[in-house]
């Protein structure tokens, strides 16, 4: 079992750094996670729109959205998503939002 200490709390993560239990995540952990994976910090309001959308989709549907879904539904355009999370929006937003990596090809 891999663990990580974020915002003073120890959480369980998988070998790619994604949370095993999304309920262990707190908002204070997001900036630390973002910095670790190269997401530009400080996190902006738009980052937070995406992170909150990721979590609500995950808890509603059991999986986070793909980039296309994110672009269509979160109100943040594809172009902006790649500015906010340059190295892969859905993947990195999921990591920073403490949910498992979304699976999808589009």
């Amino acid at each position: 079992m891999l663990t990580k200490t974020l915002a003073g709390k120890t959480v369980e993560v998988n070998d790619e750094g994604f949370f095993v239990d999304a309920t262990e995540w707190t908002e204070e952990m997001a900036p630390e996670l973002a910095e670790e994976v190269g997401v530009p910090t400080p996190l902006t309001d738009q980052h937070w729109i995406v992170l909150k959308y990721m979590r609500s989709e995950y808890f509603e549907k059991g999986t986070g959205p793909t980039v296309r879904k994110l672009g269509k539904a979160s109100g943040v355009t594809t172009k902006e998503l790649f500015q906010l999370f340059p190295k892969g929006p859905a993947k990195l937003a999921a990591l920073c939002a403490g949910i498992p990596k979304p699976r999808g090809c589009i």
Binding site: T66, V67, R68, K69, G71, T77, T78, K79, F82, P86, K87, G88, P89, A90, K91, L92, C105, I106
Partner: protein
Amino acid sequence: MTTETDSGAQDAPLIPKVVDPKIEKVSIIVSKGSFEGIYPALIMANGARNEGIEANLFFTFFGMDAVHKERYDHIKMATVGNPGLHMATWAGGLPGASALMTKYMEKQMEKQDFPGIAEFVEMISDTGAGMYACLASVDLFGLERDDLIEQLDGIITVGEFYDMAAGGQIIFT
């Protein structure tokens, strides 16, 4: 892929050790103008960007239809010479067969929430992937820059393509 060989050691392994097996960059050549020729290339390019991989698309020959203003929203599936469709060859040649099968496929894709080719091309440009047309093909087909969509980053030579692709993987479709 970067590899590392230890030339000094006598018992160096025969197979070089893989240091960083992650793909950092892909260059995808699109040479066909059919629905099934273009779509997989777009999925590969989009998927690369979603993983944070640098991606460039290079459109050549009939593949240029994917970035042709008047054609990119009307790409058709090949119904002749396509055994994967499991229909009689003569049926594939009937008038309207290609349009009908394309419509059917597009409907299936819509159900899965897949974008159509035109929307997909624009979306891929938004992901920051580079999109280039092949100079030789543009000349051969008598096209102008204005015939191609605005999102296109340029019309380049094969030499320029290789410069751009250096250090990454090349996928030909």
